[in-house]
Symmetry: C2
Subunit: 224 residues, 2 copies
Amino acid sequence: MIGEPTDRTRVKRLPEKARYDRATVDAIFDEALICHVGFVHDGAPFVIPTIHARVGDTLYFHGSPASRMLRLMKDGAHVAVTATLLDGIVAARSVFHHSMHYRSAMVMGSARVVDTPEERAIAFEAITEAVLPGRWAEARHPSRNEDQGTLLAAVQIEEFSAKVSERDVGDEPDDYALPIWAGVIPLSLVSGVPEPDDRNLDGVVAPPSVRRFVQEMRDTGRGT
Amino acid sequence: MIGEPTDRTRVKRLPEKARYDRATVDAIFDEALICHVGFVHDGAPFVIPTIHARVGDTLYFHGSPASRMLRLMKDGAHVAVTATLLDGIVAARSVFHHSMHYRSAMVMGSARVVDTPEERAIAFEAITEAVLPGRWAEARHPSRNEDQGTLLAAVQIEEFSAKVSERDVGDEPDDYALPIWAGVIPLSLVSGVPEPDDRNLDGVVAPPSVRRFVQEMRDTGRGT
């Protein structure tokens, strides 16, 4: 699916980096462990980091009903949701051409509260699985009180854009004669060794979700 | 320096995680390689990832004069600037108590254009050094054309807050009897082996800035 950029999602600067296809946008949100949600309150912009999950055309968010962001999302606030993966630093011969390798996606839309039991179940599970796939089957599910104490919000992926910067060093023609090192420093998010809680019962070892996560982060890395 | 939260920077949810001291805010911005800038355009929020640098009480940003964000910053737009470092995943016995270890800081203020030659020189160098310390001394400095083709903007760190979540597993009392593994999966940003540009001159090896960066990321990791 190729989306058409709207005036506000059209990438103005370096349009060759722009991507308007849903597959790119989805892949960035699916890989990112967190995103940043922007909203307007009393005329001022706010930007808050949060966990998200994507299910089809929907991004889900959760939190306490006391959260400023969730309260506004509940009331249909306009939001911008941005996920960014940092892949590397590009060191050029000139300061001017230094840049980063990154993939970033922004979705703009109105938030809505998730209030049917069916969709709430989908959202709760998706948010758990987005961070640690397989964990939903391992951990204790929400009690009625916990469920009622969680505000779930959704934003439809209808207006979106992405920017992918993966170009290697691009210096000015004359600068290639300079004896200055240029290149790319790759970056990735990795996991360390899991630290078991002191109160784990005897014989309880790290479960498949945790072992797979650590293994995958070791094998392939992950943008941040 | 301890700041007083304003109504809009006061952390509403989980106030025990809130930090209003400048040292915490500064440390988060200094460690983060990128931040997310939120602004309002035609009534809608936008959130854009960008490189930043802190010098004292000022955050600097740079980019093309064609950038939507920089154009608005030039005109004094109200912005929220948020830097987030992701330090780990907290896997609890219950789905409800899963969380993340993170450090996040938000600065709210009005942007201004950086227009004196003295401050522009400071900002240009700081932005280069923020990503790769020592690089300013190694790379070719901006030409007059490059300097004129760069829009530099600044936001004062006057209204700010931070949130630091470093608490380990906190489950419900009854859940400690469950045979479910709980613990923390540490996360950090690391660098891979630098990839030299094909057109580096013979004998030009990775310079101190690059070697130090890679070494430091290997030794200590870095939040994302």
